[in-house]
Subunit: 327 residues, 2 copies
Amino acid sequence: MAKKPVKLDDVAKEAGVSKTTVSRVLNHRGYLSDETIAKVEQAMEKLNYRPNAIARQLYKQETKLVGLIFPTIDDPFFGQLESALENELYRRGYKVLMGNSQNNPEKERSFLRQLLNRQVDGLIVGAHNQAISEYQRTNLPIISIEQIVSRNVPVVASDNYNGGLLATQRLLDDGCQHIIHTNYPEDIPTPNHERRLAYEDLLRKHGQTPITYHISFDDPVEKKRQIIRQIFEDHPEVDGIFADNDTNAGLIMNIAGEFKRLIPEDLRVVGYDGANATRILLPQLTTIQQPINQMAAVAVEMLQSRINGEKVTSRMLPVKLLDGGTA
Amino acid sequence: MAKKPVKLDDVAKEAGVSKTTVSRVLNHRGYLSDETIAKVEQAMEKLNYRPNAIARQLYKQETKLVGLIFPTIDDPFFGQLESALENELYRRGYKVLMGNSQNNPEKERSFLRQLLNRQVDGLIVGAHNQAISEYQRTNLPIISIEQIVSRNVPVVASDNYNGGLLATQRLLDDGCQHIIHTNYPEDIPTPNHERRLAYEDLLRKHGQTPITYHISFDDPVEKKRQIIRQIFEDHPEVDGIFADNDTNAGLIMNIAGEFKRLIPEDLRVVGYDGANATRILLPQLTTIQQPINQMAAVAVEMLQSRINGEKVTSRMLPVKLLDGGTA
DNA sequence: TTCTTTGTGTCAACCGGTTGACACAAAAAC
DNA sequence: GTTTTTGTGTCAACCGGTTGACACAAAGAA
């Protein structure tokens, strides 16, 4: 039952030529007579020959594989991002090795270590874990998205500071007097953190006191809901919320209902991300839209350059405010 | 600049032993003295040695990679499904090669052809394209999810017929007189199609005329919206809709607003899937929940069995109705 | 003392492709 | 009629690990 797979040699024997000739037919190189090509192709067809990709990779020293390391894929933002990355990479002949770190440093490290063993030609990462030393001492081409990984890894990010300004300004323009912000609980300078800085800077300039609640990206939903309820309990006067992502904005809108707040009459909400899936399910949400597909395209382009041995520098892309009805 | 990567031989030389010994240290096999082990490990550390995974794969004839072929990953259902699959596979020591067919048969075929070249140890597929002959003539272990691929590929599906019954029954119990269904436009017997059959059977049993509108999964959103508007225009009397997925249910709820229908007073809606992301953004939606994580676990378990050379048979998992407020 | 057994490590073949070097015949140039 | 060019194909080394077969020394058994 377990018949051995057909190999190059078998085809060569069947066609009455040498391995080299078959390989040449396969790769269209060197001089071949039409007659020989036909013979070889018939033999391949007859034996249903499939070349062993691993053997080729070993010799060529390239796998045409790119690893993606992100926290999860079950999320509107990351789903769209990885989907766009896969598309761009496929166009350039790369396939994708996907690793979800789940914000588990152990898993991320183990994953990384394996990919570093010449399993991939490059890496695009956006996982939240810092300080994984493996990122430093490798010369595998790496690009990071919306995340600072290491000094020598170029970053693709959207203009988070301006996004924070746009969102906060909109709430101010709406006349909100008590604007609260939710953000990811980190004091380290991630791009996301810029959103908070913009919010705080602008709010202070307008004489309001910034208040930021921390919601971990990977907390279970129920915990997120708890924190949001806490906002309404601690600050019943709140009349504007700038959420650091659309999922949280969605939760806020639901819980506002629990507290009998009408949106946008009693409470205005601005989200962040503007991913496809949330645009479809929550079209009424006003949000800051990141150019997700463009970020993917740029990241892949940069990675390709690095694989080609060129130097690249970090890039920042513009965001825009998308009008729904919630602010 | 382009310093050659360190190889097994270099480590052997550094430690003053043979390749075999280093390989043994690496794989913990055979008799080794503590002294030798220490010497070798020091040498590996000093040279920052990383074993070449490709070379190992070539000899071992296994890659510890599993390919996933699905229409897209930018979708609540598929996002959660692939996320769960990745998790389960990782637990068993497999990494994931992701391919989004985008319902592009060309891409799916090309992808498949490449993976078949001994790039992966197995495949889990849920792409919508039928009749890709490559699926037939390979003896690579394959499991399919919610999709019929080929006679010899076992399927993991949820109980779609019962899901259709539950949804339709709920609308009937609510007293709906004019129930419409949306489904994917295929006449071939996919598991999804069972939802429609259940709807039609049950509706006829209650003396109502089944009406099904077709919405392609991969249509652009605007087209989907058009079709839904058409429903309200063609059938202003509609008072219940059973959507074949939650995204469509979300669109229906939005467009119901355009037509001044209140939910659930004027119109009741039942969705399908109950994925995490939609549960968070649309908690008010009544829907049929597929056991997505469990389906992933079962699929991986089945795949592992097939890789081990055991026979497996298709499995069907139960669904349940989740109460929101829309029906 | 001689014959196992156990510990330690080396040799060389192997996995399945790719390719530079080279052989040889036929056609073209001198 | 040589010499050069062009077309066609083969040989053998190589990519970087893994492992069965085997050599040899030291310890234990007969």
